[in-house]
Structures are given as structure tokens and as C-alpha cells.
């Protein structure tokens, strides 16, 4: 039954149906509505015997999750942005220990300058941590991905991060069909750990591993990620058979048949991009979209197949590696077919800057004219940048540059 639900509420209700045994969290915008809702359900006894732990930091949130998961409990937490960075040591540790924690990441920019709005810098910062990273396009998919996430995590003994755009999804009200408890129960068997802290069968977990075995242990973790490349699509298919919904999987191709230009992107911006592509298709242009639903493991073969007919590939991404360029784009380049399409990266939507349909159509127009650079920043206010560069050249004590830029923007130099 479709209901108008805030994304956070849809996720909370779905996580609840996954019967978590330990939930812990530390509040950070824009993740708060999720954990508030789950906390209230635990208080009501609706999730009994679930334990809800209010911890003193994100570092503790992931650490409590590690302990709970190692003791055999189905464990969930959620965070965003600075919170993810604060827990990063434990994020790597959970993956290294092979603990199937599921975490929602309400994607948000990373400071400085402090910024609470959406981009993907946080997810990219833990790209190599050993977690499966799934990106949701809609609130429906965000909710559904959590059921699949527990299934994948527990099958593979790998933690899974469900990435959903902060505010754009977490705080948006959309029609969502919440999954039935009976469907979840049939899809998600009780958690049977491969390793568990049990006084009746005591094991040591977390030993030091030296050069004689470290590479093999890490390679096994890589193999589990490769196993996930097989399992993610089959779990999504099974989910689709039960629900009729095409949530999850490795990639979401859209109008790729005969497409010469393909935009690759992740998350909620795909909706906007699809609207733009529909408009350009109306105008007779051969354009399509490839949504990357699984960022880690990266579906090299699926991306390569999807791009096999493309002459131009444009990666629109909400993060970048300073001093280098696109992060997703680098992976797409690795996966690009031998035919070697032209690849352009458009960094967009940083810190919550809107990406409109008109913006995307503009990108396609520039691409068609051959004027889209290999790396560009959407709607960058070059005047403001030039003014600050000039200030820095003119005076050693030019002051704090973020504040200078803000002053210029307020004075009318804004990009729109």
C-alpha cells in the first residue's frame, strides 16, 4: 500500500521490519529522523527484544555495533558526513573483522567549511574500507535496500552501507510502499554468524596478523566483495519477484538502447537526469543514463557492457578528489569498454547546490557541441573565485578564504 512518507520514516519502518537486535546511534543531521523513529519504536516495545543504545560519539556507535555484531546480534546504525569520518577507524575495523553491520549513510558534505547539505564526499571517503556501498535513487529504493542490505551482509559477512542523499531523500515526503513483515521474514532468515563470541565455544577474534598472512586475509576480503557482485543482482531479482519492485542491483540502465551519449551518476540526481534525458530524447537526441546502484563492489563488467555502444560518457558526481578530479569517473574510466568513449566529469551538487533539469540539459548541449571539458564544475562562480585569488595574490594576510567568498557572494557575486 502506497503511503506518503518521509524518507527517514520509510527507512526506519523498514529497518524495524528487519528485526534488528541492537541499534545504536549518535545524532547528526540529516540522519536524525531515522534514529529518532527507531528509538521511539524500541521504547514502545514494538521491536522487543531490540536494544537501543544512545552513545557518546559516532566512534562509539560503530564500536558498539562491532561488539554487538561479534556477539551474534543483527546490528544497525546510521550516520552522515563528519560522523562517518569520526568513526572511520571502526568502519574499517568492522569490515576487517567481517561483521555484517548495516548502516544508513545520509550523504552530506564534509567540512571545512562546515556544511550540512547533501553531496557524496562522505561515502567516497570510505570507498576503500571494505564495506558494500549501495546508493538509493528514491525513498522507495532507500527503504527496500535496507532489507537487501541485511541479507547481503549476513550472507557474505561483510558490512553494508546504504547511501541515501541527505535532505533530498531523508527529509522528502514521497509515496512509498512499505514492505510487509511477512515478506521480510521470508526474505531475511535469522542471522547465523560465521564467528561469534560464545562462552560455550570460546574463540579469539581480532588477533594481530603479520606479513606472513596479511595479504591473504585482505585478499579474502576482496574476494567477498567480488562474491557480492554475483549476489547483489540475484538478491535484487529475488526481491523483485516478491515485491514487484526493481530496487537494488548493480546498475540501473535507462534509455541506453542506441544511446551515443550516456550520463553516469549515483543517487537521487538520477531522477533529474532522467527527466532531462527524456526531454532530449523528445528532441531526437540519442542520450541515455546509467545509474550506478552498487558503488562498492564496483560493477566493472556491468558498467562496461552498459557503455559498450556509447561514444560519449559524462559522469555527473557529487564529490571529487582534490588535485585529481572525479572519483566515480575514475572507476568508470577503468570500466570503460575498449571502444574508448570520450569521458567527461562534471562535479555538481557540492554542499547541497541544486542540480536542475536545465543544468543537465546544458551539460548535454555542451557535450554535443564538443565544448564540455574533461573536468568541469557545474555552475561554478568564476568571478567569485577570481576575486579571492586576486586577494590572495595582493596580500599575504588575505584572511579566511571561505568567509571572504561568502562576503563576495552576499554582495551579489552569486552564481545565480
Amino acid at each position: 500500500m502506497l503511503q506518503q512518507l518521509e524518507g527517514s520514516r520509510a527507512v526506519a519502518e523498514t529497518v524495524a521490519r528487519c528485526r534488528p537486535e541492537v541499534v545504536c546511534a549518535y545524532p547528526i543531521s540529516p540522519q536524525t529522523h531515522i534514529i529518532e523513529a527507531i528509538g521511539a519504536m524500541v521504547k514502545d516495545g514494538r521491536l522487543a527484544p531490540c536494544e537501543f543504545i544512545n552513545v557518546e560519539s559516532e566512534y562509539a556507535a560503530m564500536s558498539v555495533s562491532i561488539g554487538a555484531s561479534a556477539a551474534g546480534a543483527r546490528t544497525y546504525t546510521a550516520t552522515a558526513s563528519q560522523g562517518l569520518l569520526f568513526m572511520i577507524e571502526a568502519v574499517y575495523n568492522a569490515a576487517g573483522l567481517g561483521l555484517p553491520v548495516v548502516m544508513t549513510l545520509a550523504n552530506r558534505a564534509i567540512g571545512a567549511p562546515i556544511n550540512i547539505w547533501n553531496d557524496h564526499s562522505d561515502a567516497m571517503a570510505v570507498r576503500d574500507a571494505g564495506w558494500i556501498q549501495l546508493f538509493a535513487e528514491t525513498n522507495q529504493e532507500a527503504a527496500d535496500l535496507h532489507v537487501q542490505a541485511f541479507r547481503l551482509a549476513e550472507a557474505l559477512s561483510v558490512p553494508v552501507m546504504v547511501c541515501m542523499d541527505g535532505f533530498i531523500l531523508t527529509h522528502a515526503v514521497e509515496a512509498v510502499d512499505l514492505i510487509d513483515q511477512a515478506v521480510v521474514d521470508s526474505f531475511l532468515p535469522p542471522y547465523e554468524p560465521r564467528q561469534v563470541l560464545d562462552p560455550d565455544d570460546p574463540v579469539s577474534i581480532g588477533a594481530m596478523v603479520g606479513p606472513e598472512a596479511f595479504e591473504e586475509v585482505r585478499y579474502l576480503a576482496h574476494l567477498r566483495q567480488l562474491d557480492a557482485l554475483e549476489l547483489i543482482p540475484s538478491v535484487a531479482e529475488e526481491f523483485a519477484a516478491l515485491t514487484g519492485r526493481a530496487s537494488g542491483g548493480l546498475v540501473h540502465p535507462y534509455r541506453l538502447e542506441d544511446a551515443e551519449t550516456v550520463i553516469v551518476a549515483m543517487g537521487s540526481v538520477l531522477g533529474t537526469i532522467k527527466d532531462a534525458v527524456d526531454a532530449r530524447r523528445e528532441a531526437g537526441e540519442r542520450v541515455g543514463v546509467l545509474g550506478v546502484a552498487a558503488f562498492r563492489p564496483f560493477p566493472v563488467a556491468a558498467v562496461s557492457d552498459a557503455l559498450s555502444g556509447a561514444r560519449r560518457v559524462i559522469v555527473v558526481e557529487k564529490a571529487f578528489s582534490l588535485g585529481m578530479g572525479g572519483v566515480l569517473a575514475t572507476d568508470v574510466a577503468t570500466a570503460s569498454p575498449a571502444s574508448g568513449p570520450d569521458l567527461a566529469t562534471v562535479v555538481a551538487g557540492l554542499g547541497g547546490r541544486p542540480i536542475t533539469r536545465r543544468d543537465v540539459e546544458g551539460i548535454l548541449e555542451r557535450s554535443a557541441r564538443g565544448t564540455l571539458p574533461r573536468l568541469s564544475f557545474l555552475n561554478l562562480d568564476e568571478d567569485v573565485v577570481a576575486r579571492e585569488r586576486a586577494r590572495m595574490a595582493a596580500s599575504r594576510r588575505s584572511g579566511p578564504f571561505a568567509e571572504n567568498v561568502l562576503r563576495d557572494v552576499a554582495a551579489g557575486g552569486a552564481h545565480r
Binding site: 566512534y59 562509539a60 564500536s63 561488539g67 561479534a70 571502526a90 562462552p199 581480532g206 588477533a207 596478523v209
Partner: protein, 332 residues
């Protein structure tokens, strides 16, 4: 454990052979039923106070819980020397995650056990002083504040011994470490305000806080057993001399721990719900110099003309402990 007044026939050690005690008062270690939680074959240094303390503490915890125990370990000497895989010295369920998160991991284990209806399983978290008073401090305070059902044990050897003897917030003033060298007008570690974790733990009003040393292992075992009679957050701070880091003879570990207590430099007491309920009074008081001299980390206080001014300041710290806890010996 009942209190038994025992006459001492050995001079200097205060040690009491188990044969002088009733069966009920004998140590857990004296029993063949002990778990050997931290088994032989580990790689600790000769005379390691931490290995000694951990073995007694965990075997006592195992007896108190009838074997229903999970241990969570911070990174550090105890973790490294006990698990050179494929060998492990742990005969109990044991998890190591990170350096600074052992209290939170222990909270997670306890929460999972509750959720799974296994309330009989108890959880011990353990770390050295670095993992407790420095990098794990936030997680520890959070665990205390929530009153999670965890006994956390700090094995305090007063420095980062695993990484090569660097200063921690538990390093005493003037002590030489690799990052507080014995140079200049203020040699060794600074006289700061101190970071008295047992008192900080008491300020959380948690059910049980105690200190102990490896010089009195009966007392250590008794305090572990006492701690296990409570639910909620409990804290045990055990002084464990480190021959390597302190520059002391391996054979002197127990003697130094005793001198730390007998000088008042390390107060031995216990507290319930934030109130001191018992102290281990000094039997035969010694000056701090007798405690400091055998340790090379304090050698600069006694070389040449020495630094009687600094020794006097350290004596003042010990005197303050004696005053605060009422540790002065009973009049004979």
C-alpha cells in the same frame, strides 16, 4: 570471601601462603578448577605485571560468573603478547577491535547478550592505561554514564609500553619516558594536575570502583568477585609494574607494586555508588624514595646531588593520598 585475621611469619612480603587460609579464603589461582583464562605460552616480558594481573582478574571473573564471560580487549601489550596467531593464550571468548574503543565494544557485546536473552553472560573490558585514561577515555565515560553492564579493568603500567615506553596521562610526574626524557631543569614527566581515573569513575556514581595492585592478589581477586555481584558499570584500576618501562628488575614487580601502596603513592581502596567503602591501610609506611629508587625511570632524581625538591613534591602527592583515603597504618 570472609575476612580472616592472619598472623604473618614472613617479613617484608606480607604474602600469606594459601595453606594458612581456610579453603573458602584460598585464591582462585590456588584451585585446580581455575580456568587459566590467560594461559601459559604468551609473549609477555619476564616479570610482566599486566600478565599477572590479567590472569588473576579474569580467572576470578570466570569463577564469579561460572564461566559465562566474554572479554573485550583494547590494543596494547596484553593484546599483542597474548595472540601471536596461530597461537592464542585466551581460553575464554575474546575480542580485540581497536585501541580506543574497548568500553564501547564491551557495551555492544552486553547489549547483544541482553537482546538474545543471555543475561547470564557477563562482559569484561580491559585495556592498559593508554587505552583507558587517554584514547579510550570518551568511550569509557560514555559506558559509565549509561551504566552499561560491563566490568572495565585498567591494567595501569603508567605509560605506552607496547610502543616503546612513551608518556601517558597515567605516567607519574618526573618519570622518564621516551617522550618525557630526563633532561633540562624539569626532567621527566611534568607535574600536571593528574588524571585520577578511579576518582573520575566515582564521579559517575557507578555501582563499583576499586583499585588494586599485583602485590596483593587476594585483594585483586576479591575485588573482581565483588564487582561481579553488581550489575551496571564497574571499574577496576590495577597497578601493574612494567620491568621494561620502569627500568626495574623482573624479580621486583611484586615488590614495587607493594612499595607503591605502602608509600601511599598508589592508594588502594574501593567505592560503591561514588562513596569510598573500604581502604587497604598501609601496614608499614615507607617514604616514596624507597619506591622510586629501584626504578631507572626515576634515576635522575638521585644521580649526583639529586633532586630532593622533586622527591619532596612526589612525597607530597603520596601524603595527600594517605590523607584523602585515611591510609595511615593502624597503631600497633
Amino acid at each position: 570471601m570472609t575476612e580472616t585475621r592472619v598472623h604473618f611469619y614472613q617479613v617484608g612480603s606480607f604474602a600469606v601462603g594459601n595453606r594458612l587460609l581456610s579453603d573458602a579464603d584460598r585464591t582462585v589461582q590456588a584451585s585446580q578448577e581455575r580456568t587459566n583464562s590467560l594461559d601459559a605460552g604468551h609473549r609477555a616480558c619476564q616479570g610482566c605485571g599486566e600478565a599477572l594481573g590479567a590472569r588473576y582478574a579474569l580467572d576470578a571473573a570466570m569463577r564469579a560468573t561460572e564461566g559465562r564471560l566474554v572479554a573485550v580487549n583494547a590494543t596494547g601489550c596484553l593484546e599483542v603478547f597474548s595472540t601471536p596467531f596461530p597461537e592464542t593464550s585466551w581460553r575464554i571468548a575474546w575480542l580485540h577491535s581497536l585501541f580506543g574503543n574497548a568500553p564501547a565494544v564491551a557495551t555492544g557485546v552486553a547489549a547483544a547478550m541482553r537482546a538474545k536473552g543471555r543475561d547470564d553472560v557477563r562482559v569484561v573490558g580491559q585495556a592498559g592505561d593508554g587505552g583507558t585514561v587517554d584514547i579510550g577515555f570518551g568511550a569509557l565515560s560514555g559506558m559509565f554514564e549509561r551504566n552499561d553492564d560491563v566490568l572495565f579493568i585498567c591494567y595501569d603500567n603508567e605509560g605506552y609500553m607496547n610502543t616503546g615506553v612513551q608518556r601517558s596521562a597515567a605516567t607519574p610526574p618526573t618519570a622518564r619516558t621516551a617522550t618525557s626524557e630526563a633532561r633540562g631543569p624539569d626532567p621527566g614527566n611534568v607535574f600536571g594536575q593528574g588524571k585520577d581515573l578511579p576518582r573520575i569513575a566515582m564521579a559517575h556514581d557507578i555501582p563499583y570502583v576499586a583499585t588494586a595492585t599485583v602485590a596483593d592478589l587476594h585483594d585483586l581477586e576479591r575485588k573482581v568477585e565483588r564487582a561481579m555481584t553488581f550489575h551496571g558499570a564497574r571499574y577496576l584500576h590495577v597497578l601493574v609494574p612494567c620491568p621494561l618501562g620502569w627500568g626495574a628488575a623482573s624479580a621486583d614487580t611484586v615488590r614495587l607494586a607493594r612499595l607503591a601502596a605502602e608509600s601511599g603513592f598508589f592508594p588502594v581502596f574501593e567505592a560503591e555508588h561514588g562513596v569510598v567503602t573500604g581502604v587497604r591501610r598501609i601496614r608499614r609506611r615507607v617514604g616514596v624514595e624507597e619506591y622510586l629508587r629501584p626504578q631507572r625511570r626515576f634515576a635522575h632524581l638521585f644521580a649526583g646531588e639529586g633532586r630532593p625538591d622533586l622527591v619532596a613534591r612526589l612525597q607530597a602527592l603520596a601524603d595527600a593520598n594517605v590523607e584523602r583515603y585515611g591510609l595511615a597504618p593502624e597503631e600497633e
